[in-house]
Symmetry: C2
Subunit: 126 residues, 2 copies
DNA sequence: AATTTAATGCACCTTAGTTGCAATAACAAA
DNA sequence: TTTGTTATTGCAACTAAGGTGCATTAAATT
């Protein structure tokens, strides 16, 4: 179920995601906010914001969970994937704006596609 | 570094991967083999087999690490991705045989691509 | 057989994420 | 505004994946 009450903690997280397009790991959020709310609260709010469609999540290259804004007009799965990029040097992780066209997979009923590009970002490539 | 000695434990794992094309999670292997070797040994052998190119690994939808055979002729990253499928009902996880063509990503230097299809397998879709 | 050292077992650790429950605070009704 | 309902939070304890240090074992080589 989604968020039912605009608590201080919910507002705080919404503000953070309102200020960036980058993905942020749950771990980082729990760390950064640990003076303002319990880590359990962070995890629970993220879950609720994802449920209601405000955020979306994915698993990064190291198995950590990352969250980012959901584009309002993001449709469910057609035949394209919303890709993420993760820098193996600095860890920066982003939603890519392009949608990647994925050909149909024979034999399986596909619900969603996770597409993760791993490489080096601008800053680290120099 | 890769495997230097064909120990009993190494042979056991090689035999297992010699008998299937499915991916197997490290957790499952450690469980199944826990009478025959320590879980630490399982994790270390998997790491070495991946280092030497015998196996490859990826992170599944729940953040677990999965291993599967490496096709001998698998090139590094050109512009295609080796996709995996994971059934959200029964957890079955497989390497797909097709290579998916991925268009170049502007702005980033990409080293590898992780492509995970999540859906329902034949058995679970009925 | 003796030597070398890669590989293993074990005990312990680290970290991400979850759970149960009592206390708190949105929010709506009175 | 006060009161009542219950969503949300904090806390402490827990689970599970995976990793580490080190003494011991066992491949492989001489
Ligand atoms: Mn995204
Ligand atoms: Mn594979
Ligand atoms: Zn970077
Ligand atoms: Zn299935």
């Amino acid at each position: 179920m989604g968020v039912k009450r605009k608590t201080k903690s919910v507002k705080k997280l919404l503000k953070i995601f309102g200020q960036t397009n980058s993905a942020i790991s749950a771990v980082k959020l729990a760390e950064d906010l640990h003076q303002e709310m319990n880590k359990t609260t962070v995890y629970r709010i993220l879950e609720r914001l994802e449920d209601e469609g405000t955020l979306h999540s994915f698993i990064g290259k190291d198995g950590l969970k990352w969250y980012a804004n959901n584009e309002k007009d993001s449709a469910p799965y057609h035949s394209f994937a919303h890709p993420h990029f993760q820098c193996k040097s600095c860890g920066k992780t982003e939603c890519l704006t392009m949608d990647i066209d994925i050909p149909p997979v024979p034999k399986y009923k596909i619900d969603s596609i996770k597409l993760l590009f791993i490489g080096e970002c601008d800053d680290c490539a120099s």
